[in-house]
Amino acid sequence: MSKGNPERSDLVDEFEFFLGKQWSDGFPVVTPTEERVQWMLGGTRRDPGELVGNIPPAMEPATVRTIAIHALMAGCKPEYLPVVLGGMALMLREEFNLNGVQGTMHGVAPLMIVNGAYSRKIGLHGGNGCFGPGFRANATIGRAIRLILTNLGGGIPGVGSATVFSTPLRYTACLAENADRSPWPSLAETRGYKETDDVITCVMVESPRLCYDDVSQDPERLLIGIADGMAAMSSWNMHVRSDMVVAMGPEQATICSKAGMTHEDVHQKLREMAGRRVGDLKRGGNWRRERALKINVNPDDDEYFVPVIKDKQDLHLIVAGGWGPLTAVCHGWGGGSRAVHGLYSI
Amino acid sequence: MTEAVDEFEFFLNKQWSDGFPVVTPTEARLETMLKGTRCDPDEVIGSIPPAMEKATVRTVAIHALMAGCKPEYLPAVLGGINLMLREEFNMNGVQGTMHGVAPLMIVNGPYAKKIGIHGENGCFGPSFRANATIGRAIRLMMLNLGGGIAGIGSATIFSTPLRYTACITENTTQSPWETLAVSKGYLDTDNVITCAMVESPRLCFDDVSQEPDRLLNGIADSMVAMGSWNMHARSDMVVAMGPQHATICSKAGMSRADVHARLCKIAGRKVRDLKNGGNWRRERALGFPIKVNPDDDDFFIPAIKEADDLQLMVAGGWGPCTAVCHGWSGGSKAVHGKYEI
């Protein structure tokens, strides 16, 4: 057992000091000392004073230095800092609508999907257990973002946030694809980036709904089950234009690719299949006539098929997770956030 | 800075780390943590599968300390791990499974309130130390003492963010009903933990329904999916109704038991719909603890096979939302019991 730092804890227990903060996520942080901050800033070539943006709704400034302090507290290694800086900059784009998400009653979180060589180098994990604990890069990069959103943005439940339930995805939300086992190009490549490009995609989503299928051996039946997991009466994806992440396990992606389907084929098929008829949607959940009219649905035709994905670019199809018959589906938010993606500099 | 001697780096580099920093365990801090219980530090709680390392009151306290707990949280951590080691909970199976479920702790009673376990706005997410650290203490034990590490003792494909931490209470201030514990026969003054193995919550938003029938249709719809284990095996499920949704039901004269019975009845799919995709297998259906005719396309398969598999509670802040946590296939049965403070 370590002896810790008796001199410091005699004065004030550093852990209790931070755990007592209103913006704490409830977990201990790495105590930020000037020495450690300098160590963290070694992860970037950027000027510590450079302003990255103001975090809504409190609009406190996030500079390279303050972001580094939060990355440090979250438990990041210095080499993770470029991803945190890159992610934060993307999330501040207007179309991502960070302000709305901070305040919303719903429980979504900005999921970061990181593609490219640098994510592999720093150990961002896209294999077994990638949505859960045990992987420092995933855990701490996502947590750094959350601490910034609570401390600099004030997105604290009951304070700046009206979230009814929140989501465990708000503890942290960052993963890579399982590039080794994916039969397809990465999400970034499907958007025109090069395989060597370091790209982040950020999407506002709920925590994953797991979609198990150890029966289907052909894509047709497999995709019916996944499409079913994409639709629900009370999901915002049914009622407004909204993003969605479908993370296929490599085993299920391989079933499709072996049958000759490309990433684009599966993407298209899921968009065609996932949805509900107006008659079904009226029976419960968020259905409203005015909402239907806004998405060009004829509310008086009970047979009308409402697709989950209203616009092609809203479905983010990735391959992640370990080997096994499972796909994870993350539903989106109703408040008008558009996924963002871009290169980040290392 | 040399990483080798930095206390934070020391623990972050452990194989059993969840990826977050821990409170550095010192003898002085451990002594303070142990003040949270009257139990003998050497008392054995049990062994955590699959690695079967021993959990004593002292080792539980060390993990609680590292997780960030206050000493007064320790009884809930001890109570939780105790319950989770009951045979019917099947911790061994959950540690190893390919699926992504976590032992959600629902803590009822005055002590939960006293130590600040949160059941209102944002209860499934960050910002609440008791929720965050009690659940995390359990996870750190499952990783360190149990070896349930993804890719090692655990074959989990995706895991779940609920594995970072999973501990909540009910919103007793705004609930129109008795608590989950009271519905199981405990007293309001009893300190009770219920543990269920579930996925992370599926949010079920409904700002339209003003009467229970339509509202419960929407919630029941979220309790069903072709790829959910609840459709294909006897499995637990947690439905956490937001107080606003619960109040719509209670104002229409429905008791908690009425809503429970209604959801058990209407959540499900016909055999015809299940055959097309997902986990459907004829043999699986024949293994249900209820009578099923898998050859009758019109046969209705309920998501809840046995009434006590549905843990219905009221949580979250005011707003038109309900959270539904689906269960696991591998034969874990929710456990509940009193814990000592």
Binding site: A58, N97, G103 | -
Partner: protein, 96 residues
């Protein structure tokens, strides 16, 4: 940011300016009231009802109704400027 704690306190809010509340009128007679709809369903209905009651019962001279671009986004500066020139009292509504 160094201090006698021996470590950095990164808590935000140090430079935050306080915003003073506008003075509250003692009565509404003869005043122009602005109603700001957040665009959620039924928000307009609630505001229109409030506007009517304010005119009938409290002698409000005129009511103007404006809407935000989207409920999840803040009102634009130009909308706030425009309203502040026209009205003495404003009410914002959350529909749903």
């Amino acid at each position: 940011m160094a201090n006698d704690l021996g470590f950095i306190d990164p808590t935000a809010g140090g430079g935050r300016a306080m915003v003073a509340l506008a003075p509250r009128p003692m009565d509404l007679a003869g005043k122009v009231v602005g109603l700001l709809d957040n665009t959620k369903e039924q928000g307009t209905l609630i505001l229109e009802t409030i506007g009517k009651v304010l005119q009938e019962k409290y002698g409000v001279a005129k009511v103007i109704l404006r809407a935000k671009e989207h409920y999840s986004k803040p009102a634009t500066d130009s909308l706030i400027d425009e309203m502040s020139k026209e009205v003495q009292v404003a009410i914002a509504a959350v529909g749903g």
